[in-house]
């Protein structure tokens, strides 16, 4: 429970400083401090059990289906890291209070910092791979926010994005690696995985898994070739650099190496990858560090280099080397955090971080100078400081190497290590000597002086630790190192001696070489810097990265634009093409055959009808640019189809087809009226060929399918419909009974489609914002209507309504029904609009089509609901036969009510569409003053 609290406290407590900032900066900082301090106290409360070798645990199942439980454990390694995170965190909170200026939003800063702290604690205390990953990525996210904290600085924004992409991307690789690792081990529980080293290393997937996990570790710990983001992360405020980018977050990578050490280490592959990357980073970064003129730049590369050193140690794979790695993690955290804060003080008090401008600060800032010397000495590995101890042990390990990089060159790694140490000495000297000694700088932006006590205190505490550990290591660091090392390697660590003097041996010689060489290198530094900036230019990682991203964006934009080019014709061709493949390919590859079904005899009349149909279809395509003509031709297709339905004994379909055809043609005429009479000619030969090809292929495919289906009769559910239509549905017109009863729900849906179409067209025309004067029926309207047509249509109206009534009433038993009747009524009314004008017609008929549509849907729906009253499902039909004098037997059926709804909706929906389309005049006719008006 305590463990959960330790992790959650900073995450939840992040809100406090953001809230307390309204009462002042001190209150905000205090809130952050209290949160951190409480978590630290909780951690310390676990000390006795951790040092006694127990492992406190906490567990909460989060998502068992992916093996994710919020499992935490505080073994020695986790405890050590949590100690560093919270301890240094506390110092950074104090330091930042004085570092941030009045203008900086402090509440936000502390909120981000605490979020980061919680994330980091989650990483180091996790007992579950997925949980570790969750917090791992959270550190990337919070780091992104902190690097970009000064959002007005372009370096900050770019650095933040670069860090996010590199470390976040590394996290993705690690995710893949962890899933593989979990699969190999059969669990995500870390404490179990750590017991299974042999199984894991013998597995086929060990190599890919290892590479993926290492990519995650290396990106986070800025190992070559992923190191480049870290120097750019220095755009963050210095407390962030000190905390995230030297002491804690970048250590997450080496933490992971330590954490998984028992499971993954010890193979040749591990050695080559880990030690190789580490050694390259160690040397290269140490060299670059010497050439940096920016204090934080120098420290950034030095951090990269030291992380390389720790990586080398874990790569060696022996228990002894791992112990040294742990020890150096502790030491490095102390001196590097101190140095960063020191650099922040110098920057804060002088206004610059450029080593070339800084000089002779000793006189003005003696305390800062002393603290810098102590920490730099530790970094260089001067005896009596903590860095010396771990560096000596490191030399020893490098010398006693089991594997060799290059066969027969056993001195390769020791040479690299010594050379790197040499640079380390040189840049440490430069950091101190060039800044604090020499002639006093004259042109500093601010007159330098020692900072407030609050900024010095954290630096002082860390510097003091460097000395104390350096002198009495066993007393101060011994116990913690022992438990951490035990937890890391999984067994009691081998003998190691934390003493200053090991006698005259090879490591001592390496140290001596490094110091002598380092001093020389510092002395000749300008030659080295000249070499670096001149003949030996390192590729500028940022430029490469930015270039890659820019090219990626440009490529992406180009690709997208090429694919999504805005041509509807092309999209449709792709759709038809896909459909052709889907329909045709099975026929080309699979087995099929025409069945035994009897053929329908072909008579001359049918032949003519079909020929006209085909001819009209082809003509439509050929004439499509002459739009009105094409419409006339395409309506021929519809008419022929209606004839075909008649011929095939489907009078309902024929009636529907006919009336739909009429309505559609009117609608299209209205629409075409608003458009140019001729379509543009945009078809190239290639495109015509493509379209013809697609059309023919689609036709062939559909024909093949139709052929197979028609010649292979199957037993369909329509047998039931035929049998049940009269006894069950109360009607002899099966089509109508299907529509209003068997599949009344479909019809209910379809009338809603019609209703929506009406509403949609109404809304669309409204949204087009056509001015009123362009609408027919406006007061200045002077359209004359042909008298003859007017008279005839008015005479026809009652007749047409009678017909539709007739169609409606007989619908249940004879061809007809609400849908057809509705269309006929609609056509009759449209005729009135056409012949007498919108004004006249609207005045005399329904004005509120919306209401009528709604009533129609309501009637159909309410009929369906009626069945509920009798305990039947929605749309259950009811009918019965009654006897009345004179009239005789007649039928009453709920289907009639439903059909009334259909009828109403159809009439109103169709009219709503047509009337609104018809209201708009051709723009050129409405605006005769327009330049291109044809009148």
């Amino acid at each position: 429970m305590t463990l959960l609290l330790i992790v959650l406290l900073p995450l939840v407590g992040a809100l406090l400083p953001a809230w307390f900032i309204r009462w002042g900066r001190n209150q905000s900082a205090l809130a952050a401090g209290v949160v951190t301090g409480t978590a630290f106290a909780l951690l310390l409360s676990l000390s006795s059990s951790v040092f006694a070798g127990e492992v406190p645990r906490a567990d909460w199942t989060w998502m068992s289906s992916i093996g994710l439980s919020l499992a935490f454990m505080a073994d020695g390694l986790g405890y050590l890291f949590a100690f560093l995170i919270l301890g240094i965190g506390l110092l950074v909170v104090l330091y930042a209070r004085y570092y941030l200026s009045e203008k900086d939003p402090m509440g936000r800063f502390y909120a981000y910092l605490l979020l980061f702290m919680g994330a980091m604690l989650g990483v180091v205390l996790a007992d579950n791979l997925i949980v570790l990953l969750v917090f791992w990525e959270l550190t990337s996210l919070t780091s992104f926010l902190l690097i970009g904290y000064w959002k007005h600085l372009p370096e900050g924004r770019q650095g933040a994005r670069m860090a996010l992409v590199v470390t976040g991307g590394g996290g993705l690789a690690m995710l893949a690696g962890f899933i593989l690792l979990g699969n190999i081990a059969g669990t995500y529980q870390l404490s179990e995985i750590l017991q299974m080293g042999e199984v894991i290393q013998a597995h086929d997937l060990y190599a890919p898994m290892l590479v993926l996990v290492l990519i995650g570790a290396f990106t986070k710990s800025a190992q070559f070739p992923f190191h480049f983001w870290l120097p750019h992360a220095m755009a963050a405020p210095t407390p962030v650099s000190a905390y995230l980018h030297s002491a804690t977050m970048v250590k997450a990578g080496v933490f992971l190496l330590a954490r998984l050490f028992p499971a993954l280490s010890g193979t040749e592959l591990w050695f080559f990858l880990v030690t190789g990357a580490g050694a390259a980073t160690l040397l290269f970064a140490a060299y670059v560090a010497l050439t940096k003129h920016d204090l934080k730049g120098l420290l950034a590369y030095s951090t990269v280099s030291h992380l390389g050193m720790i990586t080398v140690l874990f790569g060696i794979g022996t228990a002894a080397a791992a112990v040294v790695g742990i020890f150096h993690i502790m030491n490095h955290a102390a001196f590097k955090a101190s140095l960063f804060m020191n650099a922040g003080i110098v920057d804060h008090e002088t206004g610059t971080r450029d080593i070339r401008r800084l000089s002779g600060l000793w006189a003005a800032m003696p305390i800062t100078g002393v603290l810098a010397i102590i920490a730099a000495a530790a970094m260089a590995g001067v005896p009596l400081f903590n860095g010396f101890l771990s560096k000596e042990m490191f030399f020893e390990q490098a010398w006693a190497l089991e594997y060799q990089f290059v066969e027969g060159v056993p001195w390769l790694l020791p040479a690299i290590v010594t050379l790197a140490a040499l640079f380390s000495v040189a840049y440490s000297i430069r950091l101190v000597w060039s800044v604090f000694f020499g002639p006093q700088a004259e042109d500093l932006p601010k007159p330098p002086h020692d900072p407030p006590f609050g900024m010095l205190l954290p630096v002082g505490i860390l510097a003091a630790l460097c000395i104390v550990v350096g002198i009495v290591p066993v007393l101060v660091a011994g116990p913690m190192l022992a438990v951490a090392a035990t937890a890391t390697i999984g067994i009691a660590p081998p003998e190691y001696s934390l003493t200053l003097w090991h006698g005259f041996n090879i490591p001592l010689l390496m140290t001596a070489l490094a110091f002598v060489g380092g001093i020389v290198a510092y002395w000749k530094r300008w030659a080295i810097i000249g070499l670096h900036e001149g003949p030996l230019p390192f590729p500028e990682a940022k430029r490469i990265f930015d270039g890659t991203i820019d090219r990626l964006a440009a490529f992406s934009h180009g690709t997208t634009a090429a694919l999504e080019n805005g041509s509807l014709q092309r999209y449709l061709a792709l759709l038809v093409g896909a459909a052709v493949v889907a329909m045709g390919w099975p026929f080309l590859t699979g087995s099929w055959s025409a069945g035994p079904g009897p053929g329908t005899p072909l008579d001359g009349m049918s032949l003519v009808v079909w020929a006209i149909l085909v001819g009209a279809a082809v003509a439509t395509a050929a004439l499509h640019r002459r739009r009105i003509l094409a419409l006339v031709v395409v309506s021929v297709v519809g008419l022929m189809l209606a004839l075909a339905f008649v011929h095939l004994s489907a009078p309902d379909l024929a009636l529907t087809q006919l009336s739909v055809e009429v309505v559609t043609v009117v609608l299209l005429l209205l629409a075409l009226h608003l458009l140019p009479k001729e379509g543009p000619s945009e078809d190239s030969i290639g495109r015509k060929a493509r379209d013809v090809g697609l059309a023919v292929a689609a036709g062939c495919a559909v024909t093949a399918m139709a052929w197979v289906i028609l010649t292979n009769p199957v037993d369909t559910i329509s047998g039931f419909h035929l049998a049940e239509s009269y006894p069950g549905g109360g009607g002899t017109n099966v089509v109508n009974v299907i529509l209003v009863d068997f599949r009344g729900f479909d019809t209910f849906g379809e009338i809603i489609v019609l209703a929506i179409a009406g509403l949609g067209i109404y809304a669309m025309i409204d949204a087009l914002g056509v001015p009123d004067r362009w609408k027919i029926g406006s007061p200045d309207d002077e359209v004359r209507y042909p008298l003859l047509l007017t008279v005839i249509t008015r005479l026809l109206l009652p007749l047409a309504l009678l017909v539709s009534m007739y169609l409606f009433l007989r619908g249940h038993n004879q061809p007809g029904g609400g849908f057809i009747a509705g269309l006929v009524t609609a056509v009759a009314l449209i005729l009135q609009y056409v012949a007498s004008g919108i004004g006249w017609t609207t005045d005399r008929f329904v004005r509120d089509y919306h209401g009528a549509i709604a009533l129609g849907v309501l009637a159909a729906g309410a009929t369906g609901l009626g069945a509920w009253l009798f305990g039947y499902p929605f749309l259950t039909g009811w009918f019965d036969y009654f006897e009345l004098p004179i009239i005789g037997e007649f039928e009453l059926a709920s289907a009639v009510l439903f059909d009334i709804g259909v009828y109403l909706t159809v009439v109103a929906g169709v009219l709503l569409m047509l009337v609104n389309m018809g209201k708009i005049r051709n723009a050129s006719a409405a605006a005769p003053d327009a330049a291109d008006g044809e009148g």
Binding site: L68, L133, L172, L572, L574, G749, I752, V753, W868
Partner: protein
């Protein structure tokens, strides 16, 4: 008799009717009716999920005609989940719309309700022709909604949308004709019985029908090369409409899930697992191309639109594995991706409005008036959509990747999903940096009201809930996947006794 299963379609249908009849009612009254109806839908959906969670099926025979002769509505865990998801996306979208969008055109609320009806009907029907009808309802309603607000951009995008999708519908009818012609039924459970018994000579027609349906559903789901209509349509639609449309592509995904586990499952020997074999590579390429689109997009609405396509690609690639684990993971991720995309569409408009003339274009602009609130919401949204922890995007991604363990598709899936994830980081980092950090000048806009921000917060809270309650929710999706992989009880529930006796 229990009629609950009809309510997700009937409530919005009758609400729309009332709204049309009451067109002259006060705007506030209309809004209340619309919101109340959607709230009721949430309640009903929860009840249905509760009912489905027990593992029981409900088959409701409309018109009291026995299946397969009439139309059935079928409730299982999947359909209940989809209905709930629709309501959960619908309410915030509507709450956002009542903040002003609904006055920028006619009939918004009626169209919105009809859209909900279409969606719910598609998820609940057990009849493949009825599915077509609901496809039409939601297509035509969505066309009206896309145009909502007017303007040349919307009319143009809407035209492409409706023409393309109507063409898709035409092929749907062809496919239905083939299926009915070959198997003589439209009830999906009945089809599930008849398809495996197909005669060897029917191999070609069986495959043609199955593949043509796949094409049709791919149009809806927006798979390569059939998604090109989407970025412009979604990018031009008004924010609440785009948010609601987050669920629209999922109708296609749902249909694929339903039809290719029930009617054309991998166990049909004559199909030879073709749908899965085709779906997997196409979905992966869709994901890759969509992430390229995300990186290449120069306005944030397009970023989100391409994220919609990417989520479909991810989902269908995983679904194409057709194992219980894969489907469970995909369902969990589907909920996540729907919610987060809806949130982002709404949020984009809040941000764009406050940025002034630059709108959502990814170039430096004046800062937003509420950097803290919008920035935080954006950050949470970006984290979720990019699949970063601790939100459901991350959990879903792991869930899906794990489900591919032991399959030969694993390397492909890992590579594309994780590579796409990296592109997502790049794009979201860049977008966030430009929108919130790289600003110039002073803001000239006024802050958004709490009521306008609330829907975004609601959606993000749902994402948070999905993450926090991952255990029970993933257990539910796992059970839903189990039902899908074992269709016999479904078939029995529909055909044997056909729901409760009246």
């Amino acid at each position: 008799m229990n009629h609950w299963i009809t309510l997700p379609t009937l409530i919005p249908a009758f609400t729309a009717v009332v709204l049309l009849l009451g067109a002259r009612l006060e705007l506030a009254t209309q809004r209340s009716i619309s919101v109340l109806s959607t709230l009721a839908l949430i309640g009903v959906s929860f009840a249905l999920v509760w009912q489905a969670a027990s593992g029981d099926y409900v088959a409701y025979e409309l018109g009291n005609w026995p299946a397969p002769f009439g139309i059935v509505l079928v409730l299982d865990r999947l359909s209940a989940l989809m209905v709930l998801l629709t309501a959960l996306v619908g309410l915030p979208a509507l709450l956002y719309a009542v903040h002003g969008w609904d006055t920028k055109g006619k009939n918004f609320h009626a169209l919105f309700q009809f859209q909900l009806m279409g969606l719910n009907g598609a998820f609940l029907t057990g009849d493949i022709f009825n599915l077509f009808v609901f496809f039409e309802i939601l297509l035509i309603a969505s066309y009206g909604l896309i145009l909502h607000g007017g303007g040349e951009r919307r009319v143009r995008a809407g035209m492409h949308y409706v023409v393309f999708n109507l063409t898709g519908s035409a092929f749907f009818v062809v496919a239905l004709g083939v299926i009915y012609g070959a198997f003589g039924t439209l009830n999906m459970a009945d089809l599930a019985l008849r398809v495996p018994q197909a005669d060897p000579t029917q191999e070609a027609i069986l495959r043609a029908g199955a593949l043509l349906l796949l094409v049709v559903f791919s149009v809806k789901a927006a798979l390569l090369p059939l998604y090109f209509w989407l970025p412009r349509a979604y990018g031009s639609a008004s924010a609440p409409v785009a948010a609601l449309f987050a669920i629209m592509t999922k109708v296609g995904v749902y249909s694929i899930l339903r039809v290719y586990t029930l009617v054309f499952p991998g166990t049909v020997p004559m199909l030879d697992g073709l749908p899965a074999k085709i779906l997997f590579p196409i979905a992966l390429v869709t994901l890759a191309i969509a992430m390229i689109g995300v990186v290449g997009a120069r306005s944030f609405r397009r970023v989100v639109a391409y994220l919609v396509i990417a989520s479909v690609g991810t989902l269908l690639a995983v679904i194409a594995l057709f194992s219980q684990e894969a489907l469970a993971a995909a369902l969990y991720y589907m909920v996540h991706s729907t919610l987060i995309v809806a949130a982002l569409f709404l949020l984009t408009e809040l941000i764009a409005e406050q940025r002034g003339v630059r709108d959502d274009v990814l170039e430096p602009s004046t800062p937003v008036a509420q950097p803290a609130v919008l920035g935080s919401l954006f950050f949470v949204g970006a984290v979720a959509v990019a699949g970063m922890p601790p939100l459901s995007g991350f959990l879903g991604k792991i869930f899906m990747l794990q489900s591919s363990l032991g399959t030969e598709q694993l390397p492909w899936l890992f590579a594309v999903v994780l590579g796409g994830g990296l592109l997502g980081f790049i794009a979201m980092g860049r977008a966030g940096s430009v929108l919130f950090w790289k600003t110039e000048g002073e803001t000239a806009s006024s802050p958004a009201s709490g009521a306008a921000i609330l829907p975004v917060v609601l959606l993000l809270l749902l994402v948070g809930t999905l993450s926090f309650l991952a255990e029970p929710i993933s257990a539910y999706t796992n059970a839903a996947a189990e039902q899908l992989m074992e269709p016999e009880p479904y078939i029995r529930a529909v055909l044997d006794q056909g729901g409760e006796a009246p």
